[in-house]
């Protein structure tokens, strides 16, 4: 999600918080990605489900922000997802309505509100009640696990990070040390083989064929291999010219040619497998960057300062009962805004720059912080009027 350019001279002069968001750019990006990825990839998946009589299965995690963009810019994308859900071979995954870091706030009420919003959205749009939860960027710790379990979910997805597994394999279902929940751990190396390395010519696995990939999976030990990746992998991060769609088209056939392999949705996975062991995650992990923690969004003091401002606005805002302001506040919670302020080292930093529309993290900070200052004023100004 992109913000408009906002200088200190705009602070206190904005008429509507919707002016913060660069709708033209957001529309343009969405349009491009929908044509390159969402629509063609959905068609391929629909064909595959049909072709293999429902034996090919898939799970989707769609934010409320994404759904809003679809509704506003290209409603046929929603139709296409509805078709997929109607096949019965698709699970929808719960997450926060906004792509936010609300799970890291001191108080988890806002997090729970955003999960409930998403729950209602899935019900309204797809008549679907997710059983498995995936947090923004797979951020996970014991506190989040406990909260999600208390909210009635049966499973949660996070990263199969070395630092929590040590010698153990991600190919089993685990249980949090402090809650009754099934944890599905992303197999990051097999997932990233598709997501990051598919078209990397220097990589020993190149070129990656469906046959080769199925063989790797067949040889891996364990109950389940969790492959999770950005949907934009198909057609956006990996362009159509790389052969990514052909790979996808051939994958089910190659996987199903092994007797001991089949596909499950996340719902089936938590039903089918019992936890093998417990995991204990006192400090938040995620699937981002090499560090697999939250330093991508909260790695420097500038990010912390913005995060604090944003969090502290919550209580005053909620008292006011102004849905428009609350909605803007939540859109400002999108983790992208903090991601652009990351000053992390060379290799990761390059990835950040690739996705950023700012010259550098400092510009990202100035723009975002200026907006937060304006927003803060508009919240307190109205307070004064009402008093």
């Amino acid at each position: 999600m992109r913000l408009n350019r906002f200088s200190v001279f705009n602070i206190g002069k904005t008429k509507s918080p919707y002016h913060y968001f660069d709708n033209t750019l957001n529309h343009k990006i969405f349009d491009k990605v929908a044509r390159k990825c969402y629509l063609p990839a959905n068609n391929v998946l629909l064909d595959l489900i049909d072709q293999y009589d429902g034996k090919f299965k898939i799970s989707f995690s769609l934010t409320g922000t994404f759904v809003e963009y679809c509704q506003k810019f290209m409603p046929e994308v929603i139709d296409s997802f509805q078709h997929l859900v109607d096949t019965g071979s698709v699970s929808l995954i719960e997450e926060t309505y906004f792509h936010s870091l609300s799970s890291l706030y001191d108080d988890l009420d806002e997090f729970k509100d955003q999960v409930m919003m998403h729950k209602h959205l899935m019900k309204d749009l797809f008549n679907y009640s997710p059983k498995v939860f995936r947090n923004t960027e797979a951020i996970y710790d014991n506190r989040i696990a406990k909260t999600v379990s208390d909210m009635g979910y049966q499973g949660i997805i996070t990263e199969g990070a070395k630092k929590i597994l040590d010698w153990r394999s991600p190919n089993y279902v685990y249980k949090p040390i402090n809650a009754d929940l099934r944890v599905l751990l992303r197999h990051y190396s097999l997932s990233d083989d598709i997501g990051f390395r598919f078209s990397a010519q220097g990589w020993p696995g190149f070129p990656l064929t469906a046959e080769k990939y199925a063989q790797w999976i067949a040889q891996d030990q364990g109950d389940i291999i969790n492959l999770f990746m950005d949907y934009e992998t198909f057609g956006e991060h990996q362009w159509v010219e790389t052969g990514i769609f052909d790979f996808l088209r051939h994958l089910p056939e190659k996987i199903l040619s092994y007797d001991h392999l089949d596909f499950v949705t996340v719902n089936q996975a938590v039903d089918r497998f019992k936890p093998k062991d417990t995991i204990d995650v006192p400090w938040a992990i995620s699937w981002a960057d090499e560090d697999r923690d939250v330093s991508t969004w909260l790695g420097n003091e500038m990010q912390h300062a913005c995060f604090r401002e944003l969090q502290e606005l919550g209580p005053a805002l909620k008292k006011k009962n102004d849905p428009k302001l609350v909605d803007a506040w939540r859109k400002l919670q999108t983790s992208d805004h903090l991601y652009y302020i990351s000053t992390k080292g060379f290799e990761d930093g390059n990835v950040h720059q690739y996705f950023s529309h700012y010259d550098n993290p400092y510009d990202g900070f100035i723009n975002y912080m200026n907006i937060l200052q304006d927003f803060k004023q508009s919240v307190s100004d109205e307070n004064m009027l009402k008093n």
Partner: protein, 370 residues
């Protein structure tokens, strides 16, 4: 390896980045056991060296300096003649068996070409600035351009202080890009001091350096209600105009013109400045940005500078975009965390800009032509 380097200024006497560069480069080359004779004009203060491999040779007196520009027709003839005279003098004084002749900028190019032809040794030319930069891209003087072009064509290899300058040399002078190496400048880090409410401009007060944009931004910052002084350190032909401008804008009580500062004063003001701004219209590199950052001072540079491409931890603006310049100054003053982060990260980054690296890269260039 024996190198004859021909320059124009050398500390303690220096007027700009060229002198700073020659000082750092020659000392680091000498440390790498390159025999170096540095030829320069006699100045009021005698330059000296403690490096056994480096000799400073003062030849004759010059009446012009690399940043001088003839202002009216009458002295033009004298100006040009004295340049020719000095080049002939230098060419006659350089004696010995050198492997490379290395010149800096237009002032000694004529001598460099003569020596290359006389001794049949390769000529390396460093480009620290061009006539297009010095004129702020407004009505550049053809006489300088012709000299620069001839030197660039006849030199065996060119060293540009930035990709920005390399591109300019290719575009404006028609030089083959394959003949040009880019070597970014370096700095001897200053270390930081206790910050005061000062936003600093430091450089010659000429059209190239964009001081009037600095004043326009100052007006906006002060109107916004911030309490800070704006210091313009340096002298130059625009000084009277700038003083009038500050008065017209009604900000003269918050603007300080220091005139030309001594080296010690310069180092001091870098250390105590809260923000440094380099709003140059066109700047091949801009060593002052490195100096300010090495003093822990968050720095805003214009995008049309070599510094902008070389330094990650600085803020960048278009020199004409005074609203954005003011936005960034205010942000640095209002958001402590931004000031702190950029100061810290900048100081860390600046450790990479060593004269040792410049000397290594320059040696690579020598080896290409020998």
């Amino acid at each position: 390896m024996k190198v004859a380097m021909i320059g124009w200024e050398y500390p303690p006497f220096k007027a700009g980045g060229l002198g700073t560069h020659c000082y750092g480069l020659t000392r680091s080359l000498a440390d790498k056991k390159v025999h170096l004779d540095f030829y320069m004009p006699k100045t009021k203060t005698t330059a000296s060296t403690d490096k056994p491999f480096l000799r400073i040779k003062e030849v004759g007196e010059a009446t012009v300096f690399p940043y001088d520009r003839p202002t009216d027709k009458e002295i033009e003839g004298d100006f040009f003649n004295s340049v020719y005279r000095y080049n002939d003098l230098v060419a006659s004084k350089v004696k010995g068996n050198y492997d490379v002749i290395h010149c800096h900028d237009w002032l000694t190019m004529k001598a460099g070409i003569q020596l290359k032809e006389k001794f049949n040794v390769p000529l390396v030319l460093s480009i620290h600035s061009t006539e297009y930069d010095r004129s702020g891209m407004l009505s550049p003087n053809q006489w300088f351009i012709d000299i620069e072009k001839e030197g660039m064509q006849k030199a065996d290899r060119l060293i540009a202080v930035s990709n920005y300058t390399k591109q300019l040399v290719v575009d404006k002078y028609g030089i083959d890009p394959n003949k040009i190496d880019v070597v970014h400048n370096a700095v001897y880090p200053l270390g930081s001091g206790k910050k005061q409410d000062i936003v600093l401009f430091l450089g010659r007060l000429t059209i190239q350096k964009g001081p009037e944009f600095f004043l326009d931004a100052a007006k906006k910052v002060l109107d916004y209600g911030l309490k800070t002084k704006f210091v313009l350190a340096g002298s130059g032909d625009m000084l009277p105009r700038l003083i009038n401008k500050a008065v017209d804008l009604g900000i003269s009580k918050d603007v300080i013109f220091t005139g030309r500062l001594t080296e010690e004063e310069v180092n001091h003001i870098y250390r105590i400045a809260n923000v440094y701004v380099m709003p140059s219209v066109s700047e091949p590199f801009g060593i002052t940005a490195l100096e300010a950052i090495s003093a822990g001072t968050p720095t805003i540079v214009s995008k049309t500078t070599g510094a902008a491409e070389a330094i990650t931890n600085c803020l960048q603006v278009d020199f004409w975009d005074v609203d954005e310049m003011a936005n960034k100054i205010i942000s640095l003053l209002n958001y402590n965390v931004l000031h702190k982060t950029i100061s810290k990260e900048g100081k860390r980054e600046i450790d990479l800009f060593t004269w040792d690296r410049v000397a290594d890269r320059t040696l690579d260039v020598y080896r290409e032509v020998i």
